[in-house]
Symmetry: C2
């Protein structure tokens, strides 16, 4: 059988990481910046982030949170206040030490104006926000305090990949303080559910909700909740986290309140965040060997109209037909917004245009030539189907069905990804079975559930020998206890393991 | 006459800078951060920035620009490539020199992992974007390249004031490249006009559009266009700038294109930006001795409903009346959006609530008590009128008129500010007259227009002796030439002078 020609080379099968880079390049989403580990987010990638941001911001506000903005600089002494936290981030902090440039006769331009205290660029903002909360909160009337910020953060990374791991990235970080412990736990779980909705309903990326094991939790958290998704190489991607911070930061930063009964009490705090990493997960979940595939809800353009003009004399008539189609489609609603439509008028051949939009992942491509004009029809290509599965549809029918078709594509992508996750999720009842799932070239691999007691030794062994980590203890099987397949101990928790990004 | 009691002390007359700080504090807009020169933008201030951002982003996209996002780090060697540019910013650059923290036995936590090349945190992004443009642009088909980013930038400032001048601030920066010089100049002027619309139509802040003199232009620009507004202390605030960069950055970064005729040519570039400083201008233009005054278009809450409950038995009925009012008002449109309404249910007295909202600048306050309920009326306070000028209006009439009333308030605020600017703008026909306008305790002062040749000596003298700078050469009188009142030379341009922020 002849190999299929694909727009992206290498294909997923040939070289998955290489394919990922090429999908990004072909869709013109982002590129590596001059500074090692940083990226330039190009307009098509930026539009994806803006759509995520708009959707999530609405959800964050609907759950009672307000946005604020804290400075990106953290005084070193403040950073040091929560011991576990600073330990966790010390190796990846970018540090500002000077505040001007000076001309040196020999060396040229050099840093000058040494700061009295070095400043850490926020890797996350618990400490600056904790300090502010300690001043803002006085009585139980000030609680709960529910805040969020959209910001850039820096974590100096040695091995970086566009969207998945970059030294600077964009994210939102929510920070809340509560009078009651239970309320804080509920808050952390509520925001995890908000992230699930964003991921599954908007990005069409299925997730497993769970709790991180002690080895994988956030530095300074009591409990870290997470969302894990399966990529097409069967590896896991942590798509977001929500932390119940207990009273760790409250005690480090003295975040106290006067209770109704007149007692001084420490608050219970949470923090939660998702980042531009979501775009990496989106790409790896849906895209194929012809490039990016976008679920309609996030697509910056949902329907692109490509005029096919072979003779100059037909041009005006075809363009008028296209413009009429565009106008009518734009009055239609999908997901409570007008459908986003564009006519491609660039100086390119129809083939170049079509493949350009395939690679950019636009859900529906509409071609209109002389033939379509005469029959008042349109020629439709759907990004969730194969490029050659095109169909001719009556123009008015298409306008009437556009919303349904977009909903169908959104749904198809989610169902397909869910099936892939299900098909590649297994249970290991013994250590031997477990190792078989993660053997080189194992036929069956992916997410493997097993009872585990959570001991350091097994954790290190799996990481070293198999490159496998405990992804989470799924919330839906949180109560299940069994015998640890590694140590034989009782009361082990059902844990999901995988190789991960 | 007894002094009026005011919610803000000091008043504008007593101590204008002190008043400004107090207005910000009373409205809970922002506070100084731990790191000197930085600020924390609190929810009410953040909502103002989000509203500005939404409005301006729409306008930027409507004029054909796309958003991208560049890293905040600039390699030192890249920063040095445009000589005038680096000279202009060298004194205010925050510099990252290390990428981790290490525990030192004596000193505690210290910066470690010295970078091979120091990184400048962007004070603005011409250089990183210029470098990318040189790779992105190949032929005339790639032009014009029209981009924008929303980002934080850092300019290390010695004297900082909330919103007006902070070391880190939020802004947007547009960057474009064009084949033709004229097109680039038109672009810079077009975006200045976009800023004018934002300032005058949305923020109700009147502006003068002009060109900066050579002393005040952006480092690296051929021409800097600007918007200048008069604050209530008659000082000027530069609210935004738009730069025609000529071929300075194109030559420094080799941004070339192949023309239709097959020649290699340098592009012409522009850049333009406005920042959180706009909020400072908004505060100082409209606010009064009772606190913040917000034009309805930017107000996060346009109408607040305050229930007046004196007897517990009336509570349910009054609240139902309020909820019904809220629902009906929310279906009404103002400025193409649903009116933003909130019922204040906090545990506070009606007086505390009312003054709280006065200080936060909400355009319309509605009070509803037993009396109003019985007459099916509402008691209205408008922020553009004195606090005691309240009126009783039929509920349905108020619902019907709400949009008109908001439009009227928006308009009143602009008209009042425009009148203030006009009343305090003068022309000086001689050096003597000029100095009189800027004498200590001058009766008439503000914006002073005068013909000036633009010489260094006068520039230094005015700055040193009067603390006055040339704000701009207004576009509307750009062609006017006359005799310089300082040097007696001919062909001097009509320039606006003022003390400035």
């Amino acid at each position: 059988m002849k190999a299929k020609r694909t727009a992206i080379n290498p294909t997923r099968e040939q070289d998955y990481p290489g394919w990922y880079q090429e999908v990004i390049k072909a869709a013109d989403l982002a590129e590596h910046a001059l500074v090692r580990g940083c990226m330039v987010i190009k307009p098509w990638g930026c539009a994806l982030w803006e759509n995520i941001q708009a959707e999530l911001d609405k959800k964050i506000k609907a759950t009672g949170h307000q946005n604020f903005y804290f400075p990106m600089f953290i005084p070193l002494s403040l950073m040091a206040k929560e011991a576990e936290h600073v330990d966790g981030f010390a190796k990846e902090c970018a540090i500002v030490t000077h505040h001007r440039l000076e001309e040196d006769e020999e060396k040229g331009l050099v840093p000058a104006g040494k700061l009295e205290e070095p400043l850490v660029i926020r890797p996350t903002s618990e400490v600056v926000i904790g300090e502010a909360f300690s001043r803002w909160i006085n009585s139980y009337r000030d609680l709960p305090l529910l805040g969020n910020q959209w910001a850039n953060v820096v974590r100096w990374e040695m091995r970086t990949r566009l969207f998945l791991r970059t030294s600077e990235f964009l994210w939102q970080e929510g920070h809340t303080a509560h009078a009651a412990k239970d309320e804080a736990i509920q808050e952390a779980e509520k925001m995890l559910e908000v992230y699930r909705q964003l991921s599954e309903d908007f990005l069409a990326v299925p997730v497993i909700l769970g709790e991180k094991t002690i080895h994988e939790k956030f530095p300074g958290a009591d409990t870290t909740y997470c969302l894990e998704s399966m990529m097409q190489d069967k590896k896991a991607l942590q798509a977001g986290t929500s932390h119940f911070l207990g009273q760790n930061f409250s005690k480090a930063f003295n975040i106290k309140y006067l209770s109704k009964e007149g007692n001084e009490e420490y608050t219970w705090t949470t923090s939660w965040g998702v980042s531009t990493r979501l775009i990496g997960g989106l790409i790896m979940t849906h895209s194929d060997d012809n490039g990016l595939v976008l679920p309609p809800k996030i697509a910056p353009i949902q329907i692109v109209i490509i005029p096919l003009i072979h003779k100059a004399e037909d041009e005006e008539e075809i363009l008028e037909f296209c413009r009429d189609l565009e106008t009518k489609l734009k009055t239609k609603n999908y997901n409570n917004q007008n459908i986003r439509v564009e006519i491609d008028l660039k100086e390119k051949t129809p083939g170049e245009k079509t493949w350009g939009w395939v690679k950019k992942g636009v859900p529906i491509r509409v071609q209109v030539g002389k033939k379509e004009l005469e029959k008042s029809s349109v020629y439709i290509g759907r990004r969730d189907l194969e490029p050659n599965e095109k169909s001719c549809v009556d123009k008015q029918d298409f306008i009437d069905q556009a919303e349904t078709m977009l909903a169908e594509i959104q749904n198809n992508l989610f169902t397909k990804a869910q099936k892939f996750t299900d098909d590649n999720s297994f249970t290991a009842d013994s250590r031997e079975e477990f190792f078989k799932f993660f053997a080189p070239k194992a036929e069956k691999t992916g997410f493997v559930s097993a009872y585990w007691i959570g001991d350091d030794e097994t954790e290190k062994e799996l990481k070293k020998d198999l490159k496998v980590t405990a992804r989470c203890i799924p919330l839906k099987s949180k109560e299940k206890l069994g015998k640890c397949i590694f140590t034989g101990k009782d009361n082990a928790r059902l844990t999901v393991f995988a190789r991960a990004y």
